[in-house]
Symmetry: C2
Subunit: 430 residues, 2 copies
């Protein structure tokens, strides 16, 4: 990891040093994905079965997982792992359950009642990639809030052959249907439906470049489906002072680095001495990691900033706007009010990212690539939407009528005015 | 308006009858808008000044409105209109202020504290179109929540020459800067910044096809800006029973119809007799409207459905998922729990859409084109984002550590596991 002294950088160098690498999307990707989507729209299940053989090298006869297959998969899982997942399930449920909102009801003026209500999104599709690691924890992060939101249909898709633990999590969360299908074709099937696959209103979940592009395409089609967010490479920024333990910090940097060679890892600390201690720890810990090649690549692109003080450290963090922000300082909570942009914040020595990734209760689906400046971490509300309501009593209406007439007239919207005048006349004649 | 008996339609005919017309976007639009955006990115203010002359036929020398220009505009406004706007301002403020959230803090297990915090989006840009009517009410609907959210910079753009009342509303809401610029160029300037224009993080507001396309383009560029939502033609669905007044209903249909020839207007009632009464009223009221040509065109594409009962009426409404839903029945509130999808609901005879459009307190920026199935009406939260926080005590960490180790291992993420094991060993050795 490169060490940079933040104070010594010019304004331009600061911006440059905190820039993320350009996400290179191959130009032909759009066209390839479009063809896959079209094929699923035209031939449905048949296309999905072909794609499974072609891309995932798995021959399947049915898209939908049967109850029997589900039960058998669950029986193959170690009881200790089941109990661990159950614990995570309880914490995640508790945190997302607490996000349920009461109806907001306000009398804005006498006789004028305004409300904000929430309604579940009817049908949601959850995509769980296979890839290098079977991310069953993501199944929990998506299915638990969907269930709490009371979505009417919750379906889950993952490439064949679906990992047993993913199936167990789907069952635990009472997902309605499970489909073995992957990649752009799976996203198309969820967005448009097939003989076996239910069309959904909104698609959630991470995926590779094909999945991301497919999500982009179906979400820009009004007949397609909405999506949760565009995902970029995962990232962490750690703020550490002299009280932090270099080995703890190094272990957190490595848990981000192992995600992928394009993972972004940044350490902000207060001295070169501490930075070097962390570098040494990284070398030691790296040796014993099975994914050390990936982690090394990621670390090579990563940076350590030396900040003048914790205020400067916060400035660096807010400029970067990280997905994960770990604060290991003497009084981590003191910094919290200064954090403007982050997906999820981890306070103190005993709150490593791993805890939030799996089991503390927060959601691990977070905006990346600087999007924390404008986007929220995934929450219950992503599975619901709000609608407003207003009810005016005749008196409430009367009090406001003249104002609205004037404003409608000033906007040259005479029918808007007339809808008020007509009622006002009626009330005055009563 | 065409009258259809819903019960007599086949399933396919039902779907067909409730389909919105295809939004035809001219193919060359994308390229034209791209050129305008590029020009603003390259030449900044100079390009904006040229575009103002070319598209809006107004010669301007400065982009930013001066304090003097602002004060002069405000002096030209009628005092009654000012008071009317002040009343709307107060109601809208009251409703959006109530949407401020307390910090959500949950102890998910002993020693594990999870929080959900909100933070304002730093810089927001509000776009107010000029077009056929000066929509100053939209300035209120965007600037009031931005101010309550405590966005650090709130800027507003509108084509030259900006309407006096729009300027008055901007001043009332304490907007930081006002720019006279319009169309795709204005969106580009907000997304990328120019010599005079501040780059913003998120752009809000309606606009014509050029503005909509420009918003789409800058929001798909990671270096651009986020946007509020994609806007389609405005729409209303009215549910009326035999107790409703045909003249009230007709006036509401017309206030939607006058928005544009592509406005969607739907009435759902319980008898052909009532439908015909409304048709007669439409004819009468239409005559005195200045915008009768636009309104007639819109009505020609619109439909009246005869439903068997109010349950059927709700089914029609939920299938259509309207932007505005007006319920004029004997007990309108009884239907509310059955409303699954709507942007804003208007309950009873004295809650015409006009009241919500201007002054009841609810926001008039709403999802259209069926997007109420997945999207929320604009609210305070669109000007903020949430981030999660977790803080584990050593004991809280210890209780959960084994579970996380097991899950990380099952996901083949050994560095994630190591970040936990290392801490666990440290605690056990203490």
């Amino acid at each position: 990891m490169q060490i940079l002294n933040y104070e010594n950088l010019s304004q331009i160098q600061k911006v440059e040093a905190l820039k993320r690498p350009v996400m290179s999307v191959k130009e032909e990707l759009g066209g390839v994905v479009e063809k896959i989507i079209d094929d699923v729209k035209k031939r449905g299940d048949e296309a999905l079965i072909e794609q499974s053989l072609k891309f995932d090298k798995v021959e399947i006869s049915n898209i939908k997982i049967s109850q029997k297959e589900l039960n058998e998969a669950c029986e193959r899982i170690d009881e200790n792992l089941k109990r661990a997942i159950q614990k995570a399930y309880e914490n995640i449920t508790k945190f997302h359950q607490a996000q349920l909102k009461e109806v907001l009801k306000v009398e804005t003026s006498k006789g004028i009642c305004c409300e904000l209500l929430t309604r579940p999104i009817e049908r949601v599709g959850l995509y769980i990639p296979a890839g290098s690691a079977p991310l069953f924890s993501t199944a929990l992060m998506l299915a638990i809030p969907a269930k709490i939101a009371k979505c009417e249909k919750i379906v889950l898709a993952s490439p064949a052959k679906i990992n047993d633990v993913v199936l167990f999590c789907a069952k635990l969360c009472k997902v309605d249907e499970i489909y073995q299908m992957g990649g752009a074709g799976a996203i198309a099937a969820l967005a448009y439906g097939t003989q076996s696959v239910l069309k959904v209103d909104k698609i959630f979940g991470p995926g590779n470049a094909f999945v991301t592009e497919a999500k982009r395409q179906v979400s820009s089609d009004i007949m397609g489906a909405s999506i949760d967010m565009q995902a970029g490479p995962s990232e962490v920024l750690v703020i550490a002072d002299e009280n932090a333990r270099a080995d703890f910090v190094a272990s957190d940097l490595l848990s981000q680095a192992e995600h992928g060679a394009d993972s972004q890892v940044i350490l902000v600390c207060l001295s070169e001495d501490f930075a070097k201690k962390v570098q040494k720890e990284l070398e030691i810990q790296l040796k014993s990691l099975p994914r050390k090649e990936i982690a090394s690549k990621s670390l090579n692109n990563s940076k350590i900033f030396i900040a003048k003080d914790l205020n400067d450290a916060l400035e660096i963090s807010n400029t970067y706007a990280p997905e994960h922000l770990i604060i290991q300082t003497q009084n981590p909570r003191e910094l919290l009010s200064g954090v403007k942009h982050a997906g999820s914040v981890f306070l103190g020595a005993y709150s490593p990212e791993s805890m939030g990734d799996y089991a503390s209760g927060t959601n691990h689906v977070l905006p990346t690539y600087g999007l924390t400046k404008t986007h929220s971490s995934l929450s219950l509300m992503d599975f619901m939407k709000t609608m407003s309501v207003q009810e005016l009593s005749p008196q409430g209406f009367k009090n406001l009528a003249k104002s609205v007439e004037l404003m409608a007239e000033a906007e040259c919207l005479h029918a808007h005015k007339n809808a008020v005048s007509l009622r006002l006349r009626t009330l005055e004649n009563e």
